[in-house]
Symmetry: C2
Subunit: 490 residues, 2 copies
């Protein structure tokens, strides 16, 4: 384990003050140009030195003929060059005294044949100069806190608490927009490429030590240093959850992954065992990977698997109960005390079983205040799962029919929405119980968005909510097991 | 099987020319009022007769003291009344000569105790007058083609090709907005409630005969007439797919469903057997239910389980391969002929394995025209699965850097998007191969929306796409089996 994050070879790579950029030009269809534009687009504040054999200026930056001409020794070199000149360029960087690099260029081990030898040569050159590098065949790094993005796609959305290490590069870039849709973002994301020098385990170490990373996501096509992976993960899991997506367990996934980075995939069960031993939570698809990160990074840990469901609609309530059951969660009956406290709020059509189905509430605010307030005190509830219907047209209709003048309906509706969200969030402050929402409405609707803005995850579909709650329970158990020093299955 | 849809007792219920409405008033917090407002909101064009003991007018409609005062015998009576006056009102309707009703009121069998006797009484009264009715304890019917919506929530979105019969009422209403997000909608949706008179099987018969219904969705908490269900489903499946979500298989789902409509749930495996025998495709959650309907209602049937994946991003490609593998689909290697035809379009960084990973294309239009055009001709491809990246900021950046003036970028971008979508859709016209998209971007983005508008489903996440393709393959097999007259598992 790192004593300080600054010990990591990834620290200068993710937080450089100056960058030598190889492969960008004024030709906009060149890959390197696009990477440079992404970097400039995010407003990187350090020095950027394009190296170009002919151009005087590259996208309004002074260009240099050779790395040896640079006025300083930059923290990092980014190489987006044709394969055949990568080794030579790495050598020049070494002679300049550069100690860290990101090699985006492909055409190495992943291509087989000659590429294998070229990669060996690249490793040898870097070794000679003590250069630590990411790649080759990677997309680089995004650290939005440092305004750093060396990927093909401009960064979108906020910075966030998810640290990612990925054996697919393009994957990172395609998650910018995806995460932004949930109000989430990366703390730092690494594309490891062929892992010729810096590998997944070192990324894990860095993210474990990174104070902005609350949860670590791994996209894995094959683990090379299994023993070190387990050891490193076990040192991190007690204080930070790790979620992994392993592509390669299915025959089809294996073949696809192999041609993609040349990593060796192993049987599914082998990886199940590695993750189990490491305390790493396994996601079955990309959707789950980030659903779990959302829950683990924003919710307190539940004490156990007992869930109480609050709904005002029977079908979605039953579907949530079914999803919880299938996810191995429990739905305890409510205590007599809770049932008594709830009674003034439950109409004759309602039910105080679990799901608590209110069918409707005379005062819609009760659904976000008094009722969850009672349920959160239920001893038997480890987690509260709330159905978010929040149909805006129903709210508008109610307000209109209550005599609110047409021109005030929108404003009143917004006020009501804000007060619902705040009331819900207030209830859960200083309580060590997770509150999870689910809905079938668009997450972009103001009523849903305002609840998410309070840090409450709202999932589309109860099955996603239930599996995320299971991941929370699983994390708690894995952590306990590691802290107890046992290695067996939990 | 029905000779004509007009033989169904549900025909006048779903297509009434006149409605007697019990339980609506000028009190906006009353349930009945809300249902009437939903009906008026959709612009129902037939006659609506509110029956109210005191009011002269109800929401600008002339109100009647008693059903006997009505100027005609309405096609349908909608009852949203307190339980204690439902039987009496049904009797009055019978005396007026009304032959069809929707009983929304609850408090019957689902409540147990006295409710059981009340439901028997209701059945007995209806029988005496030959009244066929939906409910009690249901939400009624939505038939947007007829501008009919007797539910609590105003209808949203387009009418569509999904016919639904649901044992949860509120479920229907909450799917209006959900389906609209995918450009989908109901042809007709029935809430069956306690099924005291008209049941799920009769809804299935109706939807099987409904020409606007291309695919039938069932939300099931428990099937009462098992033998008739199987027989009816088997008569429909050869010409129309049926997808069912069964809530009640898990212990938690079972208990929730029971308290919800009082239906008897059975073990999960029993229902697996019923669906298998009926040729019904089983969905595991609400998301799958409508994903499957989307695919089955809008795509041709694949000849088999072989999928070719087209991507320009390795990670999402590998994830799709993995998802297909886990869904039991096959990823054949491309034929030599296809590989040869593709070669001018694949850069050195790309791969012509399956997934076909282009990494990038010099001309972005190729991704939507030449390349899928070659792949669709591949003999070994039963289905084509395409990754939709379509990042708008990349397109804008490319256009800007190509020298398109700032003020024209938006317009050019829109044109390009439209031409991509049209080109893709043109390729698949008159081909009997399904084309499915997947993405991690928001479905609301113009580039994705325009492809969906061409009738091509685009799923968020490859796992949803893969499971939907599996459902298409499964439907084809089940249909063949039924047409061959065998009943065993496929």
């Amino acid at each position: 384990m790192l004593k300080s994050i600054k010990e990591s070879p990834l620290y200068p790579i993710a937080n450089p003050e100056s960058i030598a950029f190889f492969g960008a030009s004024n030709n906009i269809s060149a890959m390197g140009t696009n990477l440079l534009l992404s970097l400039l687009d995010l407003g990187f504040e350090g020095a950027v030195y394009p190296i170009h054999p002919k151009e005087e200026r590259v996208h309004n930056l002074k260009a240099y003929r050779s790395v040896t001409d640079l006025p300083e020794v930059p923290d990092v070199a980014v190489l987006v060059l044709p394969t055949r000149i990568v080794c030579r360029t790495m050598d020049e960087c070494g002679r300049k005294g550069i100690k860290h690099a990101i090699v985006v260029s492909g055409g190495f081990k992943e291509k087989g044949g000659q590429g294998i030898g070229l990669e060996k040569e690249l490793i040898e050159i870097a070794g000679r100069y003590g250069i630590r590098f990411l790649g080759p065949n990677c997309i680089g790094v995004a650290n939005p806190y440092h305004r750093l993005n060396t990927t093909f796609i401009p960064h979108e959305g906020p910075s966030g608490f998810i640290g990612l290490a990925s054996q697919s590069g393009s994957f990172i870039t395609q998650m910018f927009n995806y995460l932004a849709g949930y109000g989430l973002g990366f703390s730092t994301a690494f594309s490891v490429g062929n892992e010729a020098n810096i590998d997944l385990v070192e990324c894990l170490e860095y993210l474990g030590a990174c104070s902005r990373t609350k949860v670590i996501a791994l996209y894995i096509e094959g683990i090379n240093r299994g023993r070190e992976f387990v050891k490193t993960a076990r040192s991190i899991v007690p204080h930070k959850p790790i979620v992994a997506l392993y592509i390669g367990g299915s025959e089809a996934g294996k073949r696809a992954g192999f041609s993609h980075t040349g990593a060796m995939a192993g049987p599914d069960q082998l990886y199940d065992g590695i993750f189990q031993q490491s305390g790493v939570i396994r996601a079955q698809c990309i959707t789950e990977l980030f659903d779990f990160c959302w829950g683990l990074g924003s919710l307190p840990e539940p004490r156990g698997p007992k869930v109480v469901i609050q709904t005002h609609s029977g079908g979605p309530g039953a579907a949530a109960a079914d999803s919880c059951g299938r996810a191995g969660l429990e739905l305890p009956a409510l205590s007599g005390e809770t049932i008594e406290k709830l009674s003034p709020f439950v109409p004759p059509t309602g039910s105080v079983n679990n799901p608590v189905d209110l069918t409707f509430t005379k005062n819609p605010l009760h659904f976000f205040s008094e009722i969850p307030g009672i349920l959160i005190d239920e001893e038997k509830a480890d987690t509260l799962l709330i159905y978010m219907l929040n149909a805006p047209q129903v709210m508008r209709r109610t307000l209109t029919n209550m005599g609110v003048p047409e021109e005030q309906v929108e404003g009143q509706s917004s006020k009501l929405i804000a007060s619902q969200a705040k009331s819900l969030s207030r209830l859960f402050q200083n309580r060590n119980k997770p509150l999870v929402g689910y809905t079938f409405r668009s997450l972009d609707e103001p009523a849903i968005r305002s609840i998410m803005d309070q840090g409450i995850p709202v999932f589309r579909g109860p099955e996603r909510a239930a599996r995320t709650i299971r991941a929370l329970v699983q994390y708690d158990r894995m952590r306990e097991r590691i802290l107890a020093g046992t290695g067996g299955p939990g």
